[in-house]
Symmetry: C2
Subunit: 499 residues, 2 copies
């Protein structure tokens, strides 16, 4: 795009949106030119803040006319650089954060229709106000927008029972690459009247069209939700517990998170107060026995949600754990007796990401496998990893029940023995930068050999694009390109992402 085109586009954008909705000062742009994890730094010509779907359509029309590349952005909390502009300085960020209308609350249909810029947290609260549940839940929910969640088909901890973002959306409104508005805001459980455009736009990371509003699917609130932390001797035991729990609880099993011993160790190392707090609560329950936190052991966080009552949830949880103890699948287990105790258990799980950041650089991978291969994968790849990169720490944890692991690798601890925090971080960073590609390749090659996915819930964005291209079949890539070409022939929507 030439600078003169750019200038004309911005002039017309100001006419369309008003001056205050078009920012070009470096200080206004900077925070939005870097991704959440600070791995991708881009430059932008401007950031635009439309307030309505019609304004979004107007901007896209102009961009098409002038050949301007648009980078759609919501809460800028993506983990793959999908919302960060490239380094050219010619791309324009199109923020959908000000599309904030709640279009329709329909408790009788158990749906909620909101615009793209409403945050996930706000959606959860709106659903709560309707005495219903919106079960999508993830770390960045206070800032992440529903538009971004759908564009990336976000996952999180509720997928086991309720599905991905895709499964929680009945209809979308989309601005096409030609600037037309498609009203697909249907609140229907069944609709077989043509191609599934909705699911094509969901998960396309803003490269095929811009989701401006969505009809979200809500659920009855469970009457009782109960959590337990359960010690398991190995991933194999975690898997056996999962099979048992699914057979006994089916849809009532709403959470099944696995934490390797090394992933909880990093919490103990860096957030001793979180671990201590967990230990106190756990100690309180067990009468002083802190073995679960003190010992290095793999563990599972299991959650049961029961439609009938809290006592039914507790009873179901205790039945499963009782059988697992009888069958010697599990070691110690702690059943939370209150919401506070339950939160403390979840807090241990959620602290892993923060503690790892405190520790220093890591190779972060987001993989999925068929459940039947998961244990073999962990055993084999852990072994190969330690052989190839002696001393690395296997911080793998995650949504075991979905076959989804955050298979993260930390630098060997001994490299930084006796060093200051600053020195340690520099040493770890150097190690990770040196070995990142080889580590990633090792894991991803094994994932593909077992028919898995190299991006279970974080999307491709910029981060995983090259790997996807390396590993996907030419037939699949060709089909994707044909669809991109058909829906965005001028390539103005988020160029350089996904494809």
């Amino acid at each position: 795009m030439s600078t003169s085109n750019n200038a004309l586009f911005l002039e017309q954008a100001v006419q369309l949106l008003g001056e205050r909705a078009v920012k070009t000062a470096l200080s206004d742009l900077e925070p939005y030119c870097v991704d959440w994890r600070k791995r991708f730094f881009g430059k932008a010509a401007a950031i635009l803040y439309p307030r309505t779907t019609e304004q979004v359509a107007g901007v896209v029309c102009l961009a098409n006319q002038h050949g301007v590349a648009l980078v759609p952005q919501g809460g800028n909390t993506g983990l793959s650089g999908g919302a960060t502009p490239d380094a050219s300085g010619t791309q324009v960020i199109l923020s959908l954060s000000r599309l904030q209308a709640v279009r329709h609350q329909d408790p009788a249909n158990k749906t909620l229709t909101v615009e793209a810029g409403v945050t996930l947290k706000q959606v959860q609260e709106l659903a709560d106000g309707m005495q219903l549940l919106f079960p999508l839940s993830l770390g960045a929910e206070g800032s992440a927008t529903i538009g971004g969640n759908l564009a990336t088909n976000a996952g999180g901890t509720g997928v086991l029972r309720y599905g991905n973002a895709r499964d929680l959306c009945l209809g979308v409104e989309v601005v096409s690459a030609s600037g037309e508005i498609w009203n697909g805001l249907r609140g229907l459980r069944k609709d077989n009247t043509g191609y599934d455009l909705r699911d094509l736009f969901i998960g396309s990371e803003g490269t095929l069209g811009l989701i401006t509003a969505a009809v979200l699917k809500l659920f009855p609130k469970p009457a009782g939700v109960m959590t337990a932390l359960i010690q398991v001797a190995s991933p194999r035991h975690a898997f056996e517990l999962l099979q048992l729990a699914q057979a006994k609880c089916d849809a009532a099993l709403t959470g099944f998170e696995y934490m390797s011993a090394e992933s909880t160790q990093v919490v103990i190392d860096h957030f001793p107060e979180v671990a201590r707090h967990g230990a106190q609560i756990i100690g309180g329950i067990l009468g002083g026995n802190n073995s679960m936190v003190a010992e290095r052991s793999d563990s599972v966080l299991m959650e049961i949600s029961h439609p009938e009552s809290e006592s039914a949830a507790t009873s179901m949880l205790e039945t499963v754990i009782g059988q697992a103890l009888d069958q010697q699948i599990v070691g110690d287990a702690i059943v939370a007796q209150s919401i506070a105790q339950s939160s403390a258990l979840w807090h241990l799980r959620e602290a892993i990401t923060l503690a790892a950041a405190e520790d220093g650089a890591q190779v972060k991978l987001d993989i999925a496998l068929p459940l039947s291969r998961l244990v073999t994968f962990i055993d084999q790849v852990n072994r190969e990893m330690l052989a190839a990169f002696p001393g690395v720490r296997l911080h793998n944890f995650g949504h075991f029940g979905d076959g989804n692991l955050h298979y993260n690798i930390g630098a060997p601890q001994h490299l930084a023995a006796g060093k200051s925090v600053q020195e340690r971080r520099a040493i770890y960073l150097d190690y990770i930068q040196t070995h990142e590609e080889a580590i990633r390749r090792l894991v991803h090659d094994r994932v593909m050999a077992m028919n898995g996915s190299i991006s279970a819930e974080h999307g491709l964005g910029q981060l995983r694009k090259a790997e996807a291209w390396r590993l996907k079949s030419p037939v699949e890539l060709a089909l994707m390109k044909r669809i991109k070409q058909a829906l965005d022939p001028n390539g103005i929507l988020n160029p350089g992402k996904v494809l």
Copy 2:
């Protein structure tokens, strides 16, 4: 297509598939040139029976080369004429019924990978053998193939809990219009590595690509399944019962079918022995009180599936019905006490379609609405229908819990009073043929005004294509056409269907 092209294509098809897999005799073709409901009669140049995905790909390559139109067909049980060739006699039926391999049974992943020609019934039985459940269930399951189920995104009675065919499929293998094989047979719960090609092919009725195999999602078998037949005074009461049952049972509510008084009346009229058998069982339970079958009343068939035990299912069902009785939402209710009783109740529901066929011609519609509009829709459209077409019978029934009704209209009974069966059928047929378009328009216009769907689970095929074109937005149709053009530029896959 010229006849010479056709001849050359068939010659090469014989070389590829062998003589016995290419049939051109009229007697071999006839059964496959008419649809299940005998509404569409076409002609075909040949029917081909490939046995492998590679053979399918070979046929598609040839068809592309010679410009031959292919009509994919599975069990030929579709309800919208989507698998019936046109009248030209130049189209070639591509039967996928001989792709029958069971590729992989993976109980640990709760998946089953089968080829397109395996019947739904066989899939259910294979799952059962794995001690798991494949919950898709519909009338034609003995003949319908899984390929056809996916091509049309079939629905049925289990959607409320388990979703449509789309939701029960984790991955597909597809032969593209250019004759390439895409292996998307992933058995993953999470995979965000590009566009959702799977869902684009599912429900596209063979117009974008041919599904040759699929990874199906299985579920734990519920420990107890219990059914009740419940009398309700009106659709409003059925809706209130649904809301109560969902709040109390959530995922344990696996069936919620509504039957209007007139839809059960047609069973009593034509299958008195089914009604009598139902009445005996019901009488047995209630000690001789047959009011439910004798009285003309709307009713609901409710099914609870509990992961823990049969007694837990019964207890949940009785709790809900007890509360509904207290709140005066429902009248009499009968809880089946055995599988035989439960089957008899379901048989009443399933007999509606057969009894209606016995009765004579009907306008058959397959609509969905947001649940919040369903009651208003029924009340309003019933009233308008009777005003516009006095005396018609409102045989509407169906998957109320999904907002999906088979809103069927029978001819006025008085027109055939005192006539023979043969005369009656002729009179009804004449009435329906005269009024069908006006009746359909009335219903579909109201459906669209309430943001519903004119094809909830049967697809567009040939039957509903014109209506879809009349009612869909130009933006949506344009997007669909662009995708068709991108994936099947020569228009050889099922031309004349959907678009």
